[in-house]
Symmetry: C2
Subunit: 414 residues, 2 copies
């Protein structure tokens, strides 16, 4: 796969090698070349990510398993980690599974200064036959490559990384709790490791995968959440990087999240522009089910992929299943912009059927209410109801595929 990044790197270097403007024989260019240049010919000989070169070094001090009920998301990790180094001169080095350990990095490493970092979130599930499955891992590979290329980090063969992740999961298989709702959360991460304060494309990178056993998001059944619509801060914008899974998209979201929490809301809902379009929730995409005023039909709506929302794998799964299984029952399935004011109006007119978030952590997360312009928009749940029909249905469909109950091409057996 030739990525935008590879193309750009090649083009940029060619450009640097054959300057068109006299003024280019110049300090900043020399600096770049000294720091970052690889020749175009070297670039074509770079090693691809090769799963057959994997080496495994097992830990001599295996950890005790945490009792499943005490698991906290992303706090405890397995015995090992997968690491692969990349350099601009050689390409991908040999992958290694090694004991889980600290990263030792020079304080000038570019990941600490310029946020050269992107990641994925995916899970491994135990099926009823004791087998282990991933869910649509190709989607995660695709997105990680897009994220990485957007910040001038290397791309890789997604199939190879899926194989390597499979080997890693096998080595730490004992950490996957064998119960419905439990899984092994996998965190593929790519960071720039060049040791320089010069701002430019990193000449080296590290791809690593760590794994954390996790319990069900809702251990005692669904609990609908309440959102606060945020109009004073903006998460993403057209021409920006809000559709990529970059570290850069996360730290700036904490204060609005804390603001919402301080007023008793579990998450904030990002509105965009003067029109106050509904985009996404803290760490999830959002789905809105309404009875459409014009068509009179039920409509399941989520924001379109216009660059301002994350291209969620769960979002895509919900859309696909909805088109396959809800559309025949008369539902319209729409990727379109919807204004928060229109959601509020639908609620007032009794046309708001249900609202739910969608993401890897919870699959779906039903929404009870949204605070908007000083009012609470009621999202259609009855008083003692914690989830709407669509959310419940989606959770069951997707979980059924993830745990292998329903044979499906989305389920990848390790």
């Amino acid at each position: 796969m030739k990525s935008l990044q590879q193309l750009t790197r090649r083009k940029a270097l060619t450009g640097l090698a054959t300057p068109r403007l006299a003024s280019q024989t110049f300090a900043s260019q020399r600096l770049w070349q000294r720091n970052f240049a690889v020749t175009a010919s070297a670039a074509s000989q770079l090693a691809a990510l090769d799963a057959s070169k994997l080496s495994i070094t097992k830990t001599t001090t295996p950890k005790e398993l945490t009792p499943p009920k005490e698991l906290v998301f992303g706090k405890t990790f397995t015995d090992h980690m997968l690491t692969v180094e990349w350099t601009a001169t050689d390409g991908w080095h040999s992958p290694r599974i090694v004991p889980y350990q600290n990263l030792s990095l020079d304080p000038s490493t570019c990941v600490f200064h310029y946020a050269f970092e992107c990641f994925e979130g995916m899970k491994a599930y135990k099926d009823k036959n004791g087998g282990t499955r991933l869910f649509r891992p190709n989607k995660n590979m695709e997105r990680l490559n897009k994220s990485s290329a957007r910040i001038a980090l290397p791309t890789f063969d997604g199939e190879a990384l899926i194989k390597l992740i499979g080997e890693f999961v096998k080595v730490d298989d004992r950490f996957i709790p064998d119960a419905r709702g439990y899984s092994l959360y996998l965190r593929p991460t790519m960071i720039g490791t060049q040791k320089t304060l010069g701002v430019g494309p990193p000449g080296s990178a590290l791809l690593f995968v760590i794994a954390s056993p996790v319990g069900p998001y809702y251990p005692t059944g669904f609990k609908a959440i309440s959102l606060e619509a945020t109009d004073y801060a903006v998460r993403a914008w057209p021409g920006g990087v809000g559709d990529k899974k970059l570290g850069a998209n996360y730290a700036p979201c904490i204060l609005p999240q804390l603001e919402a929490a301080s007023r008793g809301f579990q998450q904030n809902l990002w509105l965009f522009g003067e029109e106050e379009y509904v985009t996404e929730v803290g760490t999830m995409n959002l789905f809105i089910a309404i009875k459409n005023k014009e068509t009179g039909k039920n409509e399941l709506i989520t924001a379109p992929l216009d660059g301002t929302i994350l291209e969620g794998v769960t979002r895509d799964s919900v859309l696909t299943l909805a088109r396959e299984r809800l559309a025949p029952k008369g539902w319209e399935i729409s990727e379109r912009k919807i204004r928060m004011a229109d959601v509020a109006q639908a609620a007032e007119e009794g046309r708001l059927i249900e609202v739910f978030g969608a993401g890897t952590a919870a699959i779906v997360s039903p929404v009870r209410s949204i605070s908007y312009r000083g009012k609470l928009v009621d999202c259609g749940l009855k008083e003692h109801e914690e989830a709407g029909e669509i959310a419940l249905q989606m959770k069951n469909w997707i979980e059924g595929i993830q745990y292998g109950d329903e044979p499906h091409s989305w389920s990848y057996e390790i």
Copy 2:
């Protein structure tokens, strides 16, 4: 100083402790509390950053000095580094100057995943009496506190950090080249160090300062640069974080920079909105000197601080000096929006006097031309001229203050 972050943290935790909505007794909230909570009473007893608690451990293997002419920006570092840990439970720990060394961090550390990182760029200069000086360090402290608070990292007493940086510079004094144009580049950096994949305010952080001796940006005199106006990607947005010095603002800028380089331009110029307002250059603010059509007066223009541009210290210095020293000569000094089309028109009508970037690295960086809509806008330099009068004047004024030739309150003697 009570920061937005401290206020927010307090408020948020109070909010979490006394939920207003029934649905808040809830998984994500419990997760937060387990991961991140400090009690409000503990928060008020947090230790402030205290320079008097500094300990110094000197290296036993001092480095050889790099010959000044071989220095590359941000590639070689001094013998030591300054580090201060912070925890949400205790506040600031005792500052330490230790031998320059790798950071050893768990791979789940939040700086690698969610870009909890911000930094400053400042310099120490040798004056003619052998003394060492910083330039407006209080501005850097102010900005680092703003950046840090915006991503839920801790704030600190700026005076205390200036003192600590002074001590650090004294310890590594031999690395500061004693020649005009040379300096010691200082990189204060704050990173989140919490070991969890949960997305929330970090419960621990590390403030560190490293130092790199640097030579003049233009070793053989000014070289005017050429810019490419970028209209296909957007660096910052109102309500975003483009005015903070966050790592998050840097990695996404590399591809447009490479694109510009591939066509022979040293930097890209970020335009904003349908109006194509001129905002800033790759890593500098931008100044434009025109003869104003309406007033007939000379006008020095830079983009206003509307949240989409970095609040540059050099920008502020140029503005202040221009108001003091150019305004009396009839110049208008304006912080206002200007459209790229208006810059192009001024050039066509012979009213574009000069254009230059402003930043810590180069002080000023004269611009020869800007590629815009397929044409090269000529920025007013004569064929064999590498800098305009204002740029030259500003460089001399600011450098004179930085190196202590002109006594000035901006120069801080260590």
